[in-house]
Amino acid sequence: MIWEVFRQNQAGDYHTHCGNVHAPDREMALLFAEVQHGRRKPTNSLWVVPQEEIGEVDTEDAKFGGTTNKSYRFARTYNVEPAAEEVEASEKELTEAERKRGEA
């Protein structure tokens, strides 16, 4: 049985997929994940998930974000007075996300 492994670097971080292990049950999967994936890189926590329990939808089946112009939902569309600090930070994140979407 194959278990997908997700590692969290430190408390508060997201668990990120880092590999998989063979194991007969959850307890052993956690042990093997610890040995294979939690030994060298900073690790605060590991998740193991049976591979067949993972569902997936990808760009072949879905149009993530739709196919029409959605500029109205992006902060940079709106030219107004200089924004408050946290609003500007949000805009930066949005711009970055949109740029990456364009690259993909």
């Binding site: 049985m1 590999g19 292990v21 007969p24 049950d25 959850r26 294979q36 060298r40 997936e56 990808d58």
Partner: protein, 314 residues
């Protein structure tokens, strides 16, 4: 996808288990990965005795960590291999035990003396890492992912090997002589690590066309020599006169192929070389000795899957 479509799409990390790949691709990728995985395992068995034989506690601990890493790399690569759907992990491990699984030429030779350890831990691992770094761009995504983790860990192996070499070559005259002797013995094998020259290599064309590998044997050998030849000299090792190595004006090297023992190389490639046969047998014994562990795990898996625990009839 047919072969032509696969070649057209081939690029780094392009294909994953979700893709419908032609059998030719899956077989070629399995052959590469299985060879790589087997090599990790056989290399680990070769170095394992040096956990005991190493001359200091630090070296023992480093060898222990290294051997553990290599076994882990084998496991990662078997995972990347079996996801191609050609062979299961068990089949590959059994083939290795039965002498059918192929692995790196250098791991068919005995490793007996401490002065020999940097020949593997520095030169062979250095050569391997040079190759592995290029495989981060392999078209089989699970292979590239395994390389991310393997290269992350391998840096320690190569530097640890270099540290041993530096220590020996700064040691007593006797240590220096013994290390030179080991180098003379291992150098031709290390040059053969990258296989025959491109015009003699049988598997390269297809593997390159579908993006499984991105550099040829010759390019990798050159890249290795560019870095490791000066390093060997820097530590005071004399490069043997044969095999002859010609340095070209463009920074590339030509190794005179006729100076290398290709009969021995191809005997090794068939798993018929005597010391290598012993090393395959040695691993088989180790695998047999822990069969009860694998059986216990399989039993546990059956129970976890909702099956019945087998009756204790035996």
């Amino acid at each position: 996808m047919n072969v032509e479509e696969t070649k057209a799409r081939a690029s780094p990390r392009e294909f994953s288990p979700k893709d419908d790949l032609p059998e030719e691709y899956r077989k070629a990728a399995t052959r590469m990965l299985e060879f790589h995985a087997n090599s990790e395992i056989m290399g680990a068995y070769l170095e394992r005795p040096f956990i005991r034989k190493a001359p200091s506690l630090e070296r023992k601990m480093a060898f222990s960590a290294k051997v553990q890493d290599e076994i882990g790399h084998g496991q990662l690569l078997y995972r990347a291999a079996e996801s191609l759907g050609v062979k299961t992990r068990d089949e590959m491990l059994d083939d290795l035990a039965e002498g059918k699984g192929k692995f790196l030429n250098c791991f068919h030779y005995p490793l007996e003396s401490w002065v020999e350890t940097p020949m593997i831990a520095f030169f062979v691992d250095g050569a391997a890492m040079r190759r592995q770094a290029t495989l981060k761009k392999s078209s089989w995504e699970p292979y590239a992912h395994a390389m991310d983790k393997i290269c992350f860990e391998e840096g320690f192996h190569v530097k640890h090997g270099e540290s041993i070499l530096g220590e020996l070559m700064n040691g007593s005259k006797k240590e220096q002589e013994m290390t030179q002797e080991a180098f003379d013995k291992w150098w031709p094998r290390i040059l053969q690590f990258f296989g025959p020259t491109d015009d003699q290599s049988s598997h390269h064309d297809f593997a390159a066309d579908v993006g499984l590998k991105v550099m040829t044997n010759d390019e990798l050998r050159n890249a290795f020599l560019n870095t490791y030849l000066p390093k060997a000299k820097k530590y005071g090792l004399e490069i043997p006169d044969e095999p002859r190595i010609r340095e070209n004006d463009d920074g590339t090297y030509d190794v005179v192929e006729d100076d290398l023992d290709w009969d021995e190389f191809f005997t090794i490639a068939k798993n018929d070389y005597e010391p290598g046969v012993g090393q395959i047998e040695g691993r088989k014994h180790a695998q047999d000795a822990v069969e009860w562990v694998r059986n216990a795990l399989d039993e546990q898996e059956a129970i976890a899957a909702g099956g019945q625990s087998p009756q204790a009839a035996d």
